[in-house]
Each structure stands twice: as C-alpha cells, then as structure tokens.
C-alpha cells in the first residue's frame, strides 16, 4: 500500500497561471523519491499541495494508510531569528501541544542527531549556512515525521557542506525509516540520494519519466566515483534533457 498517492492533480492559480496540468504519483513507504524538472514546472507547488498548504484545482492527494506526520524543509533555513536553535526546533512540538519539558528534551535530541549538540543556545545569526540548514532539518525531524518533504534544501550550500548533509540525510532516512520526497536541480544529488527519480516536463507540470535506481546498501564517497554511478547519473541526465525538449 502506498504511503502517498497523487491522482490527476492539477493546479491553476487565481492569476490564471496553470502550474501543474496533471500529476500522478504513488510513493511507497521507505522510498526516497527525487523530483527533478525545469524551473517553474511546479515542483514546489506539488510539495505544498501534498503538505496540505495549497488545494489542488483538480484531482486529489490521498494517504491510503492515514495522513502521516509530515516534516517540511525549505530551500532557505527559514528559522525564527528571535529564537535560539533549541527554540526553533521545539516549535513544531509546542504548536502540537507537547508539554514544555518533553518538547525541550525531544528538540535537544533532534539537534544532537544533526550534529549540533552544544549549539542549543545559539541564535540563527550566529550559525553558518550549513548549521542553519541542520537546525531546519532537526526541526522537521523533531515531531517524528513519517514523510519528509524537502524543497531544494541544499541548493544554497557549498559542495562540501552539501555532500556532508547528503550523507547525514541518508543516515537519518535509514535510521528513522523515513519516506522522503526531495526536490533538487542537481542530477548528481538525485542520483546519489534516491531510490527513484521522477522527471517532470516544463510548465504546466506533468511527469515525463521515472527512473528506478538500485543504489548499493552503503552509499559513500567511493561509490560516487564508480562507473556504475556515472551510468545512473547519465540516465537521469538524459531523461531530464529529453523532458526539457518535450515542452508543450
């Protein structure tokens, strides 16, 4: 049974702009699905529809096994500047009515898991870009989500930080048995992280192609330089190029 299904989802904004024409997608529990496609094809819109922040104009989003707890990570860290790291991570728990003491403990634990033990009292402006993104991930994990929606979370980071966060994300995905839907513009990132890559066509968005990957159990630096990895990346890259040419 899939965790999430999108059935003929379409979105036209009030401005009349048709962002998504038709999106069909089923995500199974434990999958790591990357969503790639040209800028403006409706990837962010799709994530917002799945999170329930936007209503589709047509079609439906369904969670056959019941609506799971959802975590959301944006391209920017999107932290509250007036709250320290712990306060930011505690937010989802507080909004959900978790008691103060327990929220505190769970938030501290989430920070520890993303490698930020000792930075609980630091304010966002005292943290580097990569650290802020880690706080943002900790916040998404704090409420114990089953489904993690990530919208180009590492796009603004330098290559090394990005690679470190990719590895940490894979570890969290494995440990928590998360289901991840990950928007990215990077062919390499999607190949490295995913079990499946969904390629979208230019606006109005539709699924162009799907590439099922068979990553090794242990993905690491060494795997990134194998011919096998290069071959998988080439497949994703070719599909993306083809999707761009399709257009209207």
């Amino acid at each position: 049974m899939p965790l999430l299904t999108l059935f003929r989802v379409a979105k036209r904004f009030d401005s009349g702009l048709e962002a998504i024409r038709r999106l069909d997608l089923a995500v199974k529990p434990g999958e790591f699905v990357s969503l790639v496609g040209p800028s403006g094809c409706g990837k962010s819109t799709a994530l917002r529809i799945i999170a329930g922040l936007l209503q589709p104009t047509e079609g439906a989003v369904a969670f056959p096994g019941g609506r799971p707890e959802i975590g959301f990570v944006f391209q920017e860290p999107t932290l509250m500047p007036w709250a320290d790291a712990l306060g930011n991570v505690r937010l989802p728990l507080e909004l959900k009515g978790v008691a103060r003491g327990e929220a505190e403990a769970r938030a501290a634990r989430a920070l520890e898991r993303v490698g930020l033990k000792g930075f609980e009292k630091s304010y966002p402006r005292e943290l580097s870009g990569g650290m802020k993104m880690r706080v943002s991930i900790a916040r998404a994990l704090a409420a114990g989500p089953k489904l993690l929606l990530m919208d180009e979370p590492f796009a603004a980071l330098d290559e090394l930080t990005r690679q470190a966060l990719n590895d940490d994300l894979l570890k969290l995905w494995r440990e928590d048995k998360l289901t991840v839907l990950f928007v990215t513009h990077s062919v390499f990132e999607s190949t490295y992280l995913s079990t499946r890559v969904v390629v979208m066509r230019p606006r109005p968005g539709r699924v162009h192609d799907e590439i099922v990957l068979a990553p090794p159990a242990e993905r690491n630096e060494a795997w990134r330089v194998t011919a096998e990895f290069a071959g998988e990346a080439a497949r994703v890259s070719a599909a993306l190029k083809h999707a761009m040419e399709e257009g209207e």
Binding site: F74, M80, P81, W82, P92, L95, K96, R125
Partner: protein, 261 residues
C-alpha cells in the same frame, strides 16, 4: 573609536561651545535680553527651579500619557488590520487623513470641543494624534512582513491565527515597532508642546507656556532654561527607547550586529 571616547567627545565639544558662548557674551557685553550667558541661564534655572520643574512635569506627563496611548492604540489597530482586510481598507485612509492634516491646524478645534476646563485632555488628544501614526504604520508593515514559508510551517503544524499572530507576526513586527517608538516618543513631546502653544494664555501650565510667558516678559535667560529642560526631556525619551530597543534586539537582530569599523 573607543567607547569612552565616543561618550566624552560630544560632552567635551558641548563644554567648549558653552565656554566660548560665555566668553563672547562677556567680551562683547551682549545684553541679557538678547543673548544671556550660560551662567545667567544657570542662575535663572536655579531661581525658577520650582515653577520650571512643575511645568516640566506637566509637559512630561502629557507626553508620556500620549505616547503610551499611541502605543496601545497603534499596536491594537495594527493587529486588528492584520486580522481583517475589511477593517484595514475602511479605516486606514482616515488614519492617513489624521496624519497628513497639520496638527497646528486642528488643535484649536480640538481645544474648543474638549473645552478649556479640560485642557489637559485636549493637549493629550493633540499629542496622541501626532504620536500615533508611526506606530500604526510601522506595526502594520511589520505584521505583514512575516516570512511566508514560516507561516506555512506554522499552518503545517496546525497553528491557529492566534498562535501565528503571537508567536510569528508580533515578534517579526517588534524591530519595526521599536524604531517607530523612537520616532513617536519625540513626536509626542512635539505634539504636547505645540498643543500648549495653541492653548495659549492662562490655561496651560507646561514648559511651552513658560517659554511664551518668559518671552513676553523679556526674561530670556528663563526662556533658555525652559528650552534646555525641554531638550533634556527629548533626549531622555530617545535614549530610554534606544536602550529598550537594544535590550530586546541585541541578541538576535541584524541591526544590532557589531559594525565593521
């Protein structure tokens, strides 16, 4: 520049100017009804200490009351605006009208309506009108500046309007509000003084009236003493609000980041 130097420099400059002023007045034998020497102003201050202080208190209490009411009214209305587009569209134009109409022009009307027997209330209303608008417009802007992704995040976790208002919009608006308060504090004082001038003879007992009175009697030294007291009040208001701003923002806000020197 070191901290002590930054404080000492303006003080030293002020003292130097006062000394020069004293020297020029003495050397050129300028009559005190044209320009009194600082020492004469000091003497006038001591001689009229009780009446000046009573007047200062009158002006200060009107200023502070107007400021607090402007703060409550401005923030309250801004919150109302943030909750209802309808109310905002209906009321905002009138707030602007209140703002752009020169207060000196409407002050006589307000004084007549409220009545000379309740002159303090009239002065309060006039000072309030002047101080109110920056608070309203800055807070309205601040409440609207909340990060859209953060609003989405709050909604994702089931936050209601109240939680979004208190935990996201109000903290976002705080830096805007604090800078508006620094402006409004000064404006409340200006409003109180202008109102006293308009209210005129006999009724008002604040510092502005002391200035008019001393001017009429050609007691220029006393006039200067009242004037100095007025600026001191303005300076005190500004620095208290700046200190409040620093206390509330310096941990997290970009404006409080150490400047690169």
């Amino acid at each position: 520049m070191s901290r002590t130097l930054r404080i000492l420099l303006p003080i030293a400059l002020g003292l130097a100017v006062l000394a020069l002023w004293e020297a020029i007045v003495r050397a050129a034998a300028i009559p005190p009804y044209v320009l009194p020497a600082p020492s004469a102003i000091g003497l006038a201050f001591v001689a009229n200490f009780a009446s000046l202080m009573a007047s200062a208190w009158t002006t200060l209490s009107i200023t502070l009351a107007a400021f607090v009411l402007a703060l409550l009214g401005g923030v309250g209305l801004a919150v109302l605006f943030s909750q209802s587009r309808l109310i905002e569209n209906a009321l905002y134009p009138y707030a602007v009208v209140l703002q752009v109409t020169p207060v000196v022009a409407i002050a006589p009307l307000i004084i007549i309506w409220v009545g000379f027997e309740r002159i303090d209330l009239a002065l309060l209303i006039i000072a309030w009108i002047v101080a109110f608008f920056p608070i309203l417009s800055n807070t309205t802007l601040g409440l609207k500046s909340a990060d859209h992704n953060l609003i989405d995040l709050f909604r994702l976790y089931g936050a209601g309007r109240w939680q979004i208002l208190t935990r996201l919009q109000l903290p976002t608006a705080l830096p805007h509000l604090l800078s508006a308060m620094k402006i409004s504090g000064g404006l409340a004082l200006i409003g109180a003084v202008v109102a006293e001038f308009v209210a005129g003879s006999g009724t008002a007992t604040g510092l502005a009236w002391r200035i008019v009175e001393a001017g009429n009697r050609l007691e220029i030294a006393k006039m200067f003493a009242a004037l100095a007291l007025l600026s001191l009040m303005g300076i005190a208001i500004f620095f208290s609000l700046a200190a409040l701003e620093w206390a509330l923002l310096h941990r997290w806000h970009e404006s409080a980041l150490k400047k690169v020197e």
